[in-house]
């Protein structure tokens, strides 16, 4: 009989694994997608995964340091998204396209 406690008893490890999966999905997006904005979104996904780990640790250790970190990460992510989108808009104005196929080689 398989051990079903892994299904019924939720430990912090469950959250961490979920976080890892989320992170790897984000990585996959960064590696595989070609749309600039989807790349940004994948990065946001990775940041979220990290946030999830922070909150999990904060919860299991009973300290709020992790939550403060999440707070900072969120702020920076928002800032990053703002700049990223502004860049994307600039690029779109110039190339009429946000697919990095057209400008993936970092040349002028």
């Amino acid at each position: 009989m398989p051990d079903i406690s892994i299904l019924t008893t939720i430990t912090p490890n469950h959250y961490l694994v979920l976080s890892a999966c989320l992170f790897m999905i984000g990585v996959a997006g960064v590696l595989l997608r070609r749309n600039l904005i989807v790349l940004f979104m994948s990065i946001e996904l990775m940041l979220n995964a990290v946030n999830l780990s922070f909150v999990t640790f904060s919860h299991s250790f009973g300290k709020v340091d992790g939550q403060v970190m999440v707070f900072f990460v969120m702020t920076i992510a928002a800032a990053e998204a703002a700049v990223g989108l502004a860049l994307a808009v600039s690029i779109f104005k110039r190339f009429k396209e946000v697919n990095i196929r057209f400008f993936e080689h970092l040349k002028g």
Binding site: L7, T8, T9, I10, T11, P12, N13, H14, Y15, V17, L18, A20, C21, L22, M24, I25, G26, V27, A28, G29, L31, L32, R33, R34, N35, I37, V38, M41, S42, L45, N48, N51, L52, V55, T56, H59, S60, F61, G62, V64, Q67, V68, V70, F71, F72, M74, T75, I76, A78, A79, V83, A86, V89, S90, K93, R94, F95, V98, N99, R101
Partner: protein, 177 residues
């Protein structure tokens, strides 16, 4: 505790499915909406971890502001279906997926071999801090991390200026008026 387990599995499935659809949807607008969904479900997971304030902030900042911006920009671009959503190259694609998979496997494996946090619920800890109390968070943020907080303020100001400057430039990044 089966209710908690059910909630976790439900939210985890929701999160994973919507996260996957972020990556797999070829229409970027669906991706963005899926990401918003992911954000909301992560916020719900925060709630199950008793980080209520963060859950609220997650929804306001990510789902309510950042992702709306993404969606708006995407709709402005009006990209229906992408010509080439994924990178080309069979070999490098296989290599990418292989390394992603192996890293994910390694991470999960590491967690299960580490065996540190398998305590069901840090019950003692959960009782010491009142449920969803914001005061400790505020104290941590404004007393011990006040420098970081102020630095973030400066960062946001810089970002605001930079973004305005960027979006006012006409015709791309190398434009000469």
């Amino acid at each position: 505790m089966t209710a908690d387990a059910f909630l976790f599995w439900f939210l985890a499935a929701l999160t994973i499915v919507s996260a996957l659809s972020v990556v797999l949807m070829t229409n970027p607008i669906y991706s963005a909406l899926s990401l918003a969904m992911t954000m909301v479900s992560v916020a719900a997971i925060f709630v199950t971890l008793q980080a209520y304030f963060l859950a609220g902030v997650q929804i306001i900042v990510y789902a309510g502001a950042v992702m709306v911006l993404f969606v708006m920009v995407l709709m402005l671009f009006d990209l229906k279906h992408e010509l080439q959503a994924f990178t080309r190259g069979r070999f490098s694609g296989a290599f990418k997926i292989a390394s992603i998979g192996s890293l994910a496997g390694l991470l999960v494996g590491a967690m299960y071999t580490a065996n540190v946090l398998t305590v069901p619920e840090a019950a003692s800890v959960a009782n010491t801090t009142p449920k969803g109390a914001i005061t400790p968070l505020a104290e941590e943020l404004f007393l011990r991390n006040v420098f970081g907080f102020e630095a973030l303020g400066v960062l946001l100001l810089v970002i605001a200026v930079g973004t305005v400057a960027l979006s006012r430039s006409k015709g791309g990044t190398h434009a000469r008026h």
